[in-house]
Symmetry: C2
Subunit: 336 residues, 2 copies
Amino acid sequence: MISRFPNLFLRPSMISRFPNLFLKYRGAAVRNHRFHHRPLSPPLALTMPDFRPPEHQVAGHRASANKLGPLIDGSGLFYKPLQAGDRGEHELAFYEAFSTHAAVPARIRDTFFPRFHGTRLLPTESRPGEPHPHLVLDDLLAGLEAPCVVDIKIGAITWPPSSPTPYVAKCLAKDRGTTSVLLGFRVSGVRVVGPGGTVWRTERPEVKALDTAGVRRVLRRYVSSVADEGMDCALATAVYGGKGGVLSQLRELKAWFEEQTLFHFYSASILLGYDASAVAASGGEGGVRVKLVDFAHVAEGDGVIDHNFLGGLCSLIKFISDIVPEIPETQPLGPS
Amino acid sequence: MISRFPNLFLRPSMISRFPNLFLKYRGAAVRNHRFHHRPLSPPLALTMPDFRPPEHQVAGHRASANKLGPLIDGSGLFYKPLQAGDRGEHELAFYEAFSTHAAVPARIRDTFFPRFHGTRLLPTESRPGEPHPHLVLDDLLAGLEAPCVVDIKIGAITWPPSSPTPYVAKCLAKDRGTTSVLLGFRVSGVRVVGPGGTVWRTERPEVKALDTAGVRRVLRRYVSSVADEGMDCALATAVYGGKGGVLSQLRELKAWFEEQTLFHFYSASILLGYDASAVAASGGEGGVRVKLVDFAHVAEGDGVIDHNFLGGLCSLIKFISDIVPEIPETQPLGPS
């Protein structure tokens, strides 16, 4: 149980690039949290629910017999293995700080972030005797019959400013080699369910090679209802536009980022999701979801806004608003 | 005349990191512009007006007997020597493209940019036989009796994405060594005129060493009416707040940056200016000016917003709005 995650279990204190994050936001009970991973509760251990890799995963390591990767259990929960080294600890610390932080508006937390349900040790296929700690989160695409998802890593800079130079150099090469520096974001993966259940998804080498034109194509393909490479943008208005659509949600998120100085979300992603079946059926509301994920490199804001995330978010908003013709916002009804 | 500026005069075609900038926006006449610097007109050459380094210069090379630097002539014009190598050509090309670009709103051009009056060859003290080409621009602080100015370089990234790796490494070291990466901007220089005409200004080593707290201090000192290091922020409401104040102008600029995809302003600065005498006299309007300057590293936007400048601008807005208590905007009067 120790070998895979030595830092988490052996070190006397949490070590992090951002120690203040822990000191400021985590109480003593939370600081010791790592010693209290809930094991599988007896009924769960006995019945061993149907843990499986989510079909809708489009980025990151995929779980297999030899590899750790996220799992879902069919009940609406998503289990993300703690990453090795500081990253896992750091993401856990973020979720703990964020989920109880008094200055985070409930509306923002509930709308734009996965709900955090603590951690759980899960057995792993490759090392049966070594259960691995997982973050337990909401499955963001639970309940969608035909989940369509795009993962977009936000920010021209993907490394926290305090990172050591070799790490900066490594990230910078990726950021310049993809669209991150140029656009302020890059697409990490896409999955679209078309008519008849056909699935169109990007492969990793392809997605890494996307240029500006490729990003535009992918964002159009994501809202197209076709069985092949074609693009009709038939769902653009339903998914991107309108009340509750992607643009409206991104603009609400932007307003928060113009003010919030608590966290800087380096290397985090925005996950867009919708239900192709629901959109096709209703022609309107399609369970559109806009969520932030991947918090292994979050830094404390220290009174400064996250200009890097905000800039990338504004760029994404512009890209999407170029796809869907702007629907003029209706004037709110109020007492006349 | 050739030795100091070989590129400008010898090369058969403009060479630039961003050749499209020239191809798209510059007509044939403009492309040949470099062969047609207006020499001093005879009356000017005869009378030789009082060219002198501007007292209010706070960043960049200062003109002296041995060094080229900007000059003013007392008639409201500002002469900026073309920088060596590609930079000078590039800044000239930007001014020519920008000043005639049909997609730039006149209000934005007139409010936030120095007016461009072409180029002029001026004799230099150090090499009397070698006149040097200068950009002729509006002196942004002309007419202010007691000009107070702060120069703020905007953007966490100060290098155009297509820059060669060694240049990126050099810029990145500066950007990480100053507040650029952390805050999305850095202060390059400040000059404040206090009661009785006392001048407080930052020295270069001091300004380079500013951290987040130092930036907050300088932005407070800039609107303080004191004769020493003290800070009373007495002018914060007059200069930063209110209609026509810095915040209001920065927000108008921000709205343009959320939409404009023509130019990316790497390593450009926002210059804030006001007249300490006018503010003291009227208690209100103080000739507040918000201007962009330094365009040697502008890149073409190619349909993408300048998320890097926009993010830094939003961060600056937040810093300044933390200093002046927000004055609620009045509802615009319209037909009921």
